[in-house]
């Protein structure tokens, strides 16, 4: 039986961001859009949620950032996964699978 810390669900946003970046470096706007599309608009991210998450993850060393040029030809900050970020993604993905399976089992069970 696994244990889940209180901010486990909160950490799912981080995990989604990490997942997004497995495709290669992206700027903040693109990350937000990708998550919206990938969840079929199930998750619309506010800027006030997305960017603080990015800065926190940068501080924890899961993301690295550097300046690059965007599709519009403008200077933009591109985020990239670090090795620590990859490890975080792997462990959280496994934990999420176990968690959602457990929740699903409970939800389909007849009361």
């Amino acid at each position: 039986m696994s244990r889940y810390p209180a901010d486990f669900l909160h950490g799912t946003l981080d995990t989604l961001i990490l997942k997004t970046l497995t495709g290669g470096p992206m700027h903040g706007y693109a990350i937000g859009r990708w998550i919206e599309e990938a969840t079929d608009c199930g998750l619309a991210l506010e800027e006030g949620t997305l960017y603080p998450a990015l800065y926190r993850m940068e501080k924890r060393g899961w993301l690295d950032a550097e300046w690059g040029t965007s599709e519009l030809g403008r200077r933009a900050k591109f985020y990239r996964l670090t090795r620590a970020g990859r490890q975080q993604l792997a462990s959280h993905t496994a934990a999420w699978a176990a968690f959602s399976a457990a929740v699903n089992r409970a939800l389909i069970k007849a009361v």
């Binding site: 800027e47 965007s70 519009l72 403008r74």
Partner: protein
């Protein structure tokens, strides 16, 4: 990983505000574009995109988060860099173990010695005293013509009744007790104190209680308080001794309390206390000065107010009792200052000297480090070229010196741990609180401070050199350094110049102390200590209160000692030279009104031949000088001069010790003996007078406490000791014999302090000299190695060996001479601090200073010439090919 992070933080430094602003601007633009693509009016699209940033709230939050992120990064980078620097420094140390060992030992020597001396200074001077509020506890002095003296009971009582600026005013007098219970009889040093003595210091008894006021009265004072020391030594630390009765001077006393160890640190060596219990007769005596007075001043008054009140009361005392107090005043001094005052300068001078040696040691290590950095100049240049800032390089060099200093600190603690006990063993007796010196927390903190200070001293010049851009670019061009760039030797010359100056100061101090010690050793003391044994006996009042019995007892003891094997001469004296104790009396020369204060000796015939004190005029005492015969006196030359000037003193009459000013009891001077230095060679001879023991008035037996010193001369100390012990035992086997020792030992003990200071200063001076010589040697050797090619050229062009030696050694000698000049001035200023430790030599003695400079210069010259001479062995053809 760490390096990538560092590069990122170095190269990618955009202010956080700009970073956030640009990132969000880009975001807004992207969204606007998207909205336009969906067909929304551009102006409206921009407004909509902007709205999602919540009026700048997002920007503010991000700026804050970004700032935290940057702080965390720079902390992590700093730690990474430190770890890197340490790893690098460690590798440097490990790959050159010889260098590391030399540096660590050099610094360890300095740090260890300084730490050891500091722990002594801390224990004796800096550590707060054990009693409560030490800054309110004073000693009070009865002043006679500006000299501090003891108190008479009458004067003490007069002040006690009038003082208002003090909380407590107490007195004690040191005395000896014959302690006997069920164990061996023992002579201990004790105190007779007023009842409030312990209360004044604020130290609570460990068991029992202190004196009550009503116990401080004649007849009710048969109570005793034990010191922690005595309690442990004699009573096995048994608390139940409180309430028991023990015999002191053959009288039973109830033990009412036991003091904690803190009381043993007060300053005197008392092991037990009894109430002093002044009799009404004593309270009316104003002319016998033997009390020490203690003051606890009130919280709300200043020291000056206390002093003023003492002076005021002294003036009123002088009006009320003008006969003895007309010329007396009173003064107070902080008790802790009084006890440590004499050691304060001495110990701080020592601490200063040892710190100078540490600085000299740092100079050597700095020199080594400079040489090593010069060898690494290419590496440093590359570091600078790839973007390491000045601060970064300074930090790296300082980390290296900190690591070296850390090794030095470890070595130093080991050295201090080993030297401190030796220091305490060798130290002269009587240094207050010395036995409490230890490597405690404060001392360890000081040692840590020394390590950091040494690291800075050692690393600063090298670090500065390492960052000079000219050096760096030049070094990139030519790794060998050639003739310019890192070769500029002025920094290292500055170091050896400074070392020379410091050594000059320490050596000059040492030389002065050595000469002073020689002077002391050679100073005639006026008597012969060789083969003389002394021991003290005291007869308790209970059995020997009658002077006739005391006289008989001593006669018996002396006769038995004289006839014992191994004893050639024997005599008695109330206070023998170098032994101490005894008293003095005011003498009235016939026809003169002023009294002369003079040390008293009550001696048996033959005394002068025991210690070989020469008779200068007249006769010595004989067995015929008894109470019934004509009263006679022998005086020393100083007293003869003081009393009679150049007139012949034989036959003159002096009153003392009995009678009164109106009816003087005159004694005729029958002999003059040579002056003796009874308190050791450093103290001037005092006026002294001698009376035949069998002729002294009965009251004099009470003054001496029926305690006399037995002196014997012979070859074998063990036989003489046995003779004295045997004689006393035969008389009364409860009587202890104490303070047995040879006069040679006594003299050594008195000279111990001078010898100790001389030894330490000489050790420090020679250590400094050796370190400085090593420094000079290494600088010249390094210069020679750097200039091999140039020397080869010069020799190929015809320079003689002599020229080369001169050229090279002058590089070392010029700064030394400059340093010497500065050191000479420094020595003249600093040796003043030694003034009161010097005997018959001035602190600026020109011969000593000149000789010191000459020694230093010749050592420096040899240290410089040896490597310079080696340069001449260079083969020009080899040197040129290199």
């Amino acid at each position: 990983m760490a390096i990538r992070k560092r590069l990122r933080s170095l190269l990618w430094r955009v202010p956080i505000e700009q970073e956030v602003h640009e990132e969000l601007a880009h975001h807004v633009e992207m969204r606007t574009q998207e909205l336009i693509d969906r067909g929304i009016d551009p102006a409206e699209a921009r407004v909509m995109a902007r709205m999602r940033l919540e009026n700048g709230k997002v920007e503010a939050v991000l700026t804050q988060l970004g700032r935290q992120r940057n702080n965390s990064w720079s902390r992590r980078d700093w730690i990474d860099e430190l770890r890197q620097d340490l790893r690098f420094a460690w590798r440097q140390c490990v790959t050159r173990p010889g260098f590391t060992l030399a540096a660590a030992l050099t610094l360890g020597l300095g740090i260890g010695a300084t730490t050891a001396i500091f722990s002594v200074v801390h224990a004796v001077i800096l550590k707060p005293y054990a009693y409560v509020d030490p800054d309110r506890v004073l000693l009070a002095f009865s002043m006679l013509r500006g000299n501090r003296g003891s108190w008479s009971v009458g004067n003490f009582e007069y002040f006690r009744q009038r003082l208002t600026s003090v909380e407590e005013f107490a007195a004690d007098t040191g005395t000896s007790f014959n302690l006997s219970d069920n164990g061996e009889p023992e002579r201990i040093f004790g105190g007779r104190t007023t009842w409030n003595y312990h209360r004044l210091f604020g130290i609570e008894p460990a068991y029992g209680r202190t004196f009550r006021e009503d116990e401080d009265q004649p007849g009710r004072n048969k109570v005793v308080i034990l010191s922690d020391r005595l309690w442990r030594r004699r009573f096995a630390a048994d608390p139940s001794v409180v309430g028991r009765s023990i015999r002191i001077n053959s009288e039973p006393h109830d033990v009412i309390g036991i003091m904690p160890p803190a009381m043993d640190q007060i300053g005197d060596a008392a092991e037990a206390w009894v109430p002093i219990a002044f009799t009404p007769a004593q309270l009316a005596m104003y002319d016998e000065f033997y009390l020490t007075a203690y003051v606890r001043q009130r919280k709300d008054v200043t020291r000056q107010q206390v002093r003023d009140e003492f002076v005021r009361i002294a003036q009123s005392l002088a009006r009320d009792h003008p006969d003895l107090n007309a010329e007396r005043s009173a003064d107070v001094e902080l008790m802790s200052d009084f006890f440590t005052g004499g050691y304060r300068t001495r110990l701080f001078v020592l601490l200063a000297a040892v710190s100078l040696v540490l600085v000299i040691a740092c100079g050597n290590v700095a020199n080594l480090l400079l040489a090593r950095l010069a060898a690494r100049s290419r590496e440093l240049a590359i570091r600078a070229a790839v973007g390491a800032g000045r601060g970064r390089i300074v930090r790296q060099v300082l980390t290296e010196s900190l690591l070296l200093a850390g090794f030095g600190g470890v070595a130093g603690l080991a050295i201090a741990w080993w030297t401190l006990p030796a220091l305490m063993r060798l130290a002269p007796p009587g240094v207050p609180r010395l036995e409490t010196a230890a490597l405690n927390g404060t001392v360890l903190m000081a040692a840590l401070g020394l390590v950091i200070a040494s690291a800075i001293f050692v690393g600063l010049l090298p670090a500065w050199q390492a960052t000079r851009r000219t050096t760096l670019t030049e070094d990139l061009g030519d790794g060998k350094g050639a003739l310019s760039g890192s070769l500029k030797p002025w920094m290292r010359q500055l170091l050896i110049g400074a070392q020379a100056a410091l050594v000059m100061i320490v050596l000059a101090g040492a030389a002065l102390l050595v000469r002073s010690a020689i002077n002391l050793q050679q100073e005639p003391i006026g008597f012969d200590t060789n083969g003389v044994l002394t021991a003290r006996i005291a007869l308790p009042a209970a059995q020997y209160g009658d002077p006739a019995r005391a006289r008989d007892a001593y006669r018996q003891v002396l006769d038995r000692v004289r006839s014992s094997p191994g004893v050639r001469f024997a005599a008695l004296d109330s206070q023998a030279p170098l032994v101490g104790g005894g008293g003095s009396n005011g003498l009235l020369v016939e026809g003169v009104r002023d009294r002369i204060q003079s040390t008293s000796h009550f001696v048996t015939p033959g005394y002068f031949s025991v210690i070989n004190n020469p008779l200068k005029a007249g006769r010595t005492f004989t067995d015929a000088d008894i109470r019934q015969a004509e009263p006679v006196m022998i005086i020393n030359e100083t007293l003869a001069r003081t009393a009679f000037g150049s007139a012949d003193p034989i036959g003159k009459r002096i009153a003392c010790c009995e009678g009164s000013p109106d009816q003087p009891h005159y004694k005729t001077v029958v002999g003059v003996v040579g002056d003796i230095k009874a308190r050791g060679p450093a103290q001037p001879a005092r006026p002294e007078f001698y009376l035949p023991l069998m002729q002294i008035p009965d009251v004099a037996w009470t003054w001496t406490g029926r305690s006399l010193v037995v002196l014997t001369r012979g070859e074998d100390v063990a036989m003489m000791t046995a003779a004295i012990r045997g004689a006393v035992k035969e008389l009364d086997n409860t009587l202890p014999v104490f303070n047995i020792g040879t006069m040679d030992e006594g003299l050594r003990r008195i000279l111990a302090e001078a010898r100790f200071n001389t030894l330490l200063m000489s050790l420090l001076g020679s250590t400094g000299l050796v370190l400085a010589a090593l420094g000079i040697y290494s600088v010249i050797a390094w210069l020679v190695s750097q200039r091999t090619r140039e020397i080869g050229v010069r020799m190929a062009l015809g320079a003689s060996k002599h020229d080369v030696i001169r050229m090279m050694s002058l590089h070392g000698l010029k700064p030394v001479v400059a340093g010497l000049a500065i050191g000479f001035a420094g020595a003249i200023a600093a040796t003043r601090l030694l003034q009161n430790q010097l005997f018959e030599i001035g602190p600026r003695d020109p011969i000593t200073l000149a000789a010191t400079a000459a020694v230093l210069l010749s050592v420096a010259a040899s240290a410089a010439v040896i490597p310079a001479w080696r340069a001449t062995t260079i083969d020009p053809s080899t040197a040129l090919r290199e």
